[in-house]
Amino acid sequence: MIIEGLLARSIQMSTPLIIGALAEVLVERTGVMNIAIEGIFLLGAWAGFVGTYFTGSHLIGLIAAIATGTLVGSCYGYITVYLKQHQIVTGTAINILAAGLALYFYRVLFGVPLLPLTVEPLARLNIPLLSSIPVIGEILFRQNVLTYLSIALIFMIYWLLFKTKIGLVIRSTGANPEAVDAAGINVDSVRFKAVLCSSALCGLAGAFYSIGFLGLFTEDIIGGRGWIAFAICFLGNWNPIGAAVGGLIFGIADATSTVIQTSGFKLIPNEFVIAIPYILTIIATISRKEFRVPEYLGVPYIKEGRR
């Protein structure tokens, strides 16, 4: 019973991490790191909450989150892809700005409420038949719609990257931009579109934290989970399947740490239990030997002679 609950919660907690990591895989395959991921998660959570709070519709909340993510992504993409400025530096600036914006406009809209405002979190969708399978049904098929979407995305992005012409262009843009350019495809345009898609997905992932299961928005609602999704992309070797496995492991770590915190288990101090996902990232980063980094990751593409 406890194990089932833990696993169901792990799947739940891994949802945004998987969506975020897949988004990061998609964009990093074109050679751009989406460093603004933490800020987009936060603004996505904010927009999802605000949209749902004012309309009462989760769908509008999710659309607002996607739109906000895309908007931030277009800003990040324009500066890094077209203006060729440093990705880590630009991303950091956008993350600071995003944190300020989310809190400021929460205040503009709601003032300082005495109790945190809440919305009804996304309902669990019990899939007919499948959800009544013992154990597995409980764990896998009684989740909310975003979880099912994240599972579908794993296969969709895998298919897109490795089975379609678009995927070939995406992968080549990260591995050999000159060749893509020589084939008459606009490198910057491919990269910019990838940034937009990935940011839209990250906005959605962020909304999971606010309306997916908590039903409220706080300033530390993301608390570095965007960065963990970013790390999972690295650890999963820029592969959608790897990202899914990584997301699941971190989901388990996240759920375990919550369970240990609320239980009477006192062998490890709570402070370190909270840090489990971060410590896990460090261990995984150090022990991972074979990284297949996209060749031109983080390098802006500048056509020769047109500086």
Binding site: Q85, T92, A99, L101, G224, W227, I279, S287
Partner: protein
């Protein structure tokens, strides 16, 4: 003529600061506030009296350190975005020494605190450098995650062994007066840590541009492969850069605990590491630029904090200002590059015309 143009171009970050403040000012309209009034308030408050002016310097001190921490590693093309964690480790080292060695004479006690925060911050940072050198691990991810681990260690110590005698709040006792950094101007918060910060900035300049180590660091930063062929052991550089960078951030812990707070409160100054990155970028990763940008951020903080109190603008507005300023500085680097290319082209064309004639 040419040098005039050059000066105008080097002042570019300054224009972009103004553009950034203008952009963030637009956000105030949403709260029905006149941005001009708010900015006037910020200026008036920041320079209202000697106390506030001194406070600008006091606020700038830790920012100089974290700015140097990022900027120094950036010169080696390494990304230390874990200054926040190294800062907390420095805080812990400094506050522990202040609490446990409070019987020592002032000079000795302060030196111990300074050295311990420097060494602990440096060691915490060099772990990242070591992991990069030994396991080829990604320093960006490691430094990022190391902050969360440092926060866990800090929370644990502050709720456990270091908690105040009353045991009520997650904070330490006030440290003994003998561990306080002396004030430069009495009855203000400007303390001698400012001199330390300026000395350290000078030291960073000296290390980078006047020593063999600095030459190697910059060589690794410009072209890692070329540096390796030239016989530079990049792994040693990774460890030493991260030690120095972490030590800078650790020193911010010393000045904040012993100079300002005189105690350690759980989770205080949570943005200092990120702001350091902004300052390093604004200052073009040059120690002098970092000092000046830190003073600018200090003034925004002092004036902003007070202006926020008199208007109904929330303090998160400071984040918007910092973010907008950083973004417009980044874009200004692009514009400056463009202008320089165009000027260079023109010059070459004119020269070639002269030759043909």
């Amino acid at each position: 003529m040419r040098s005039d143009r050059h000066i105008l171009l080097t002042l570019f970050p300054l224009y972009s600061v103004i553009v950034g403040l203008f952009l963030s000012g637009l956000m105030m309209l949403f709260l029905g506030q006149n941005p001009l009034v708010v900015y006037r308030d910020i200026l008036l408050f920041a320079f209202r009296d000697i106390y506030n002016i001194a406070d600008i310097f006091a606020k700038a001190v830790p920012l100089i350190f974290t700015g140097l921490a990022f900027g120094f590693a950036y010169r080696a093309s390494l990304f230390n975005i874990g200054a926040q964690g190294q800062f907390y480790m420095g805080c812990l080292a400094s506050v522990s020494c202040s609490l446990y060695f409070s019987f020592l004479p002032k000079v000795l006690l302060l030196s111990i605190c300074l050295l311990s925060s420097l060494i602990i911050g440096g060691l915490w940072g060099s772990l990242i450098g070591y992991a990069k050198a030994r396991f080829n691990a990604n320093e960006f991810l490691l430094s990022l995650m190391s902050t969360y681990v440092a926060i866990a260690i800090m929370n644990f110590l502050i709720r456990g062994p270091l908690i105040e005698a009353k045991g009520e709040y997650p904070q330490t006792d006030v440290i003994a007066q003998s561990a306080w950094i002396p004030l430069l101007i009495p009855h203000t918060r400007m303390h001698a840590g400012l001199i330390l910060a300026l000395l350290v900035a000078a030291a960073a300049y000296f290390i980078l541009w006047k020593t063999a180590l600095g030459f190697k660091i910059r060589a690794v930063g410009m072209n890692r492969d070329a540096a390796r062929f030239a016989g530079i052991d990049e792994r040693k550089i990774f460890v030493s850069v991260f030690f120095i960078s972490g030590a800078f951030a650790g020193l911010a812990g010393f000045t904040e605990v012993n100079g300002i707070q005189h105690m350690l409160v759980q989770g205080f100054n949570p943005m200092i590491g990120t702001e350091g990155i902004g300052i390093a970028i604004l200052g073009n990763a040059h120690p002098l630029g970092i000092v000046l940008s830190a003073l600018l951020f200090g003034a925004l903080k002092v004036g902003g904090a007070l202006a926020v109190q008199v208007s109904n603008i929330s303090s998160s507005f400071l984040g918007i200002m910092e973010g907008c300023v950083m973004l417009s500085v980044i874009i200004s680097y692009f514009i400056r590059q463009r202008i320089m290319t165009v000027l260079e082209k023109k010059r070459l064309q004119e020269e070639s015309k002269v030759k043909i004639l």
